[in-house]
């Protein structure tokens, strides 16, 4: 039994007239007659009662008709679904992210993507940059939002944002109200760092910044999560050097001050395997490319790309909690 035959049967069952059914099938009547006969032989039973004046369904034909429709519908839906998967319009995506990406408009970008493609579900899992790279390499993640240290070969990267580092101080800090400061000004303070295991690129960047400023930081606390650092600072537990995106954290009790003359940048990447052919990933990559393009022009929250601070080009202005 072939789909073609099912279609013949259905056409005749609906028309109950060989010529009309054949016309509907864009064929001539004789091959339809023989095709129907062939189906009946295969099923071992008459499906139609017919003479030259009348065609009608037998009970076997009556029973077969809705089943045949069901088979066709199921096949059609299977094909449509497969086409969608192949076009990246349907499926699942496991994507990693470092917590700080929540401050960079990534959730909004993903929400918009899910909204635009109703049949793709993105599953986010928070992991360190290194963990993400490992997971992507081993196929446990499709892609990741991370701060790349050393990106393994075979990975493709998209730069989402380049951010300057700023000092993060308690609101009560003497320099909290300043427009900018030199890193040396806080060289003697307790420094809060992200653990190197959690984020080597950040760790190394801060160490390098301090070294350039002529000191080695007094590391008071090491944390693995950005919120922990901010809360510690707000409680007077120390100071930190953070990417300016942290300004969007919205935590009370901390202030951000630009670093005078610093051009060192924290780069936020989107990373995936270059050899991936996963359609849904390719679609997502396309979406992120276009998002990053417009996002680099207009950073999140509608803050203009060029803020007031000459030392913070292409990054949002420093907010001051009142």
């Amino acid at each position: 039994m072939e789909i073609r035959q099912l279609k013949y049967f259905i056409a005749l069952a609906e028309e109950l007239h060989f010529r009309r059914a054949a016309a509907r099938l864009s064929m001539s009547q004789p091959p339809l007659s023989s095709a129907i006969k062939q189906i009946e032989e295969e099923l071992g039973t008459q499906l139609f009662e017919r003479n030259t004046k009348m065609v009608s369904l037998t009970s076997a034909g009556t029973a077969f008709y809705p089943e045949a429709l069901k088979v066709l519908a199921q096949l059609e839906q299977a094909c449509a679904m497969t086409r969608d998967v192949g076009a990246g319009k349907r499926g699942q995506l496991r994507i990693g992210f470092v917590g700080g990406m929540l401050l960079r408009g990534i959730p909004e970008a993903i929400s918009r993507y899910e909204y635009e493609t109703t049949d793709v579900s993105v599953s986010l899992r928070e992991m360190s940059s290194a963990e993400q790279l490992y997971a992507i390499t081993h196929g446990r993640l499709a892609a990741g939002f991370l701060h790349a240290g050393v990106v393994p070969a075979g990975m493709e990267t998209l730069v989402l944002r380049k951010e300057l580092f700023v000092a993060c101080l308690p609101a009560t800090h003497a320099r909290a109200g300043q427009r900018e400061l030199n890193l040396q000004h806080i060289a003697h303070e307790d420094m809060i760092l992200f653990a190197r295991d959690a984020s080597p690129s950040y760790y190394d960047s801060v160490i390098a910044l301090c070294a350039a400023a002529g000191f080695s930081p007094r590391v008071r606390h090491e944390v693995t999560h950005w919120l922990t650092a901010l809360v510690l600072i707000a409680r007077g537990g120390g100071v930190a050097v953070v990417p300016d995106a942290f300004i969007h954290a919205g935590l009370q009790g901390v202030r951000y001050v630009a670093l005078k003359g610093s051009t060192s940048q924290s780069v936020a990447y989107f990373v995936w395997r270059r050899d991936s052919t996963e359609p849904v990933l390719l679609e997502f990559v396309a979406h992120m490319r276009s998002w990053s393009k417009s996002n680099l022009a207009t950073p999140p929250d509608g803050i203009p790309a060029s803020g007031k601070l000459a030392t913070l080009p292409k990054t949002p202005r420093v907010h001051r909690t009142p």
Copy 2:
């Protein structure tokens, strides 16, 4: 998309090896390659990732596989079901019967049929003989168990039983204990008849029997259901002439006495349209033919075909309630 192609896809999805899949499909490898390529073109997406050393499913292929299986299974089941309907092994049968058939082993015959063919459901509906013939003619019944008067042309009949008439008397009747009687002996009694509308053949037979005995019955009551007649008789409401099958009714307070010298018979028929091609009906007809054959040899309840009474050949012996 054709079923053949689904089978190719499934074979390759399961083997993940063109040569083995082709072998399983009893074909050579090159046509399988081109067929798969053709399917992929139709779906507009790769279903397999492949090189000379490895074949694997893409996400689209992974999604398609269970759907393809479902389509095949559904088609297979549709064909099997249709075959069953065509072979009369599945379906519904609306069959009429006159109430008296309950005394002739018909329910048992139907039960056995339903037991033997698990997928046929027989729907019984009690109707008079005339109503049945009308319903069969107009396709509202597939067949009927009835006492045929005039059977319309185009009907096929199977004689299920030929029964002699016996007198049915109250147990208190003076002649209730007799082995047999002449109809004249009860000519003066109140006679209970089935309404002619309900059963013309019975009505006419009884009238003819009385006429042959030289009298016209004093019709006291007319009833439309055999149980009503028997109950009336038990209550002393009159006497009746009934087919000997009524002996099996099992009602207390009535007695049956053979009619001396009478050979008039009540015939129980199974009737259906000669031109019917309904497989489930043909199967049922075959069943009833074989049932009637063995039933005529051995009547219900194990009563031998030839009883003690010489005047009641091929019919059960007259029972006497103690």
